[in-house]
Symmetry: C2
Subunit: 157 residues, 2 copies
DNA sequence: TGCAGAAATTTTAAGTTTGAAATTTTAGGC
DNA sequence: GCCTAAAATTTCAAACTTAAAATTTCTGCA
């Protein structure tokens, strides 16, 4: 069971490949379940989740397209298409900014909120299921480690 | 700094969102650097990595399309397109299976191997850089945890 | 042998994703 | 008040991705 000593660099690479494998596997399973149970896609779910969270935080005017693309870490052009299809389905509505005509606010409709809450409940259960091999103590520890990582990345000075 | 006690289910969801954020951020950075420095894309790099690894393990006939799609956890139709473009660029060649005409073997050309080794060296450095906030001991620990996770997922009985 | 079903792959349609270019609007300096 | 730069968004072309259908080939069995 002993393992050959690897350089820190090679170990980080090994970790990266494992992380990628884990997230791809979980994502594939979540996508499949969203599709089968709700006819939804992962990107749409992600967008709706961001809008729902924003709505909880400040139930006023939703998010701008730019806030949305930053929150999801995807390109701005990408968000345009996904929102377009969500609007077609009646889950999202656009609202112009009265004071800045460049900006468009986007928010969930009531139908969108209801649909999201439905999916989110199931989604939480699925994630819990798929990550169930990780004991709660491990989960807490991992969150700590990742918090530290994020702090280090976002505070270069 | 104290945090409200969350249910195991909510904690796993929190971990999942953090993991997603980490991997998306690292992937975005890797994609950008591959593009700028090598004019390559992440999917192409992944495919070449799988083929290179296969070539090291058994330097005979490469991988079949099915082996490739399973190794990368992507759909079979997906691999077809990526391989097509890699063939056009002279990095990959197809070879028919003599005994089974349904099967196509795929392997890196010499140019493909050289190009990959170049990128792989840089890629390892980038990953090391992007994950550098994680100390070697943490990296080892995380690998352990993920190994256990994988074992639990793949051994249901 | 003949044939039903499985297996490997490609094709197709729809959606996602990116990076860059184009468009529209705003802000700030002069 | 103009004019250039910045900001928000959309458009565009190319690539990636999936699930499902179609194609080709093989396998096993009656």
């Amino acid at each position: 069971m002993s393992r050959i000593e690897l350089s820190p660099s090679k170990q980080r690479l090994r970790l990266w490949l494992k992380l990628l494998r884990l997230t791809r596997g979980v994502e594939a399973e979540l996508r499949e379940r969203l599709r089968v149970n709700y006819g939804a896609t992962l990107p749409r779910f992600d967008v709706m989740a961001a809008l729902f969270r924003a709505d909880e935080a400040r139930a006023d005017h939703g998010l701008t397209m730019t806030e949305l693309s930053r929150a999801l870490m995807v390109s701005n052009g990408n968000v345009t298409g996904i929102i377009e299809r969500l609007v077609e389905d009646g889950f999202v509505q656009r609202r112009p900014d009265e004071t800045d005509r460049r900006t468009t606010f986007v928010q969930l409709t009531e139908a969108g909120k209801a649909a999201f809450q439905d999916m989110a409940k199931a989604h939480e259960g699925w994630v819990n299921d798929l990550l169930s091999p990780l004991a709660p103590a491990e989960v807490d520890h991992l969150i700590e480690v990742l918090n530290a990582h994020r702090a280090a990345r976002t505070t270069p000075e």
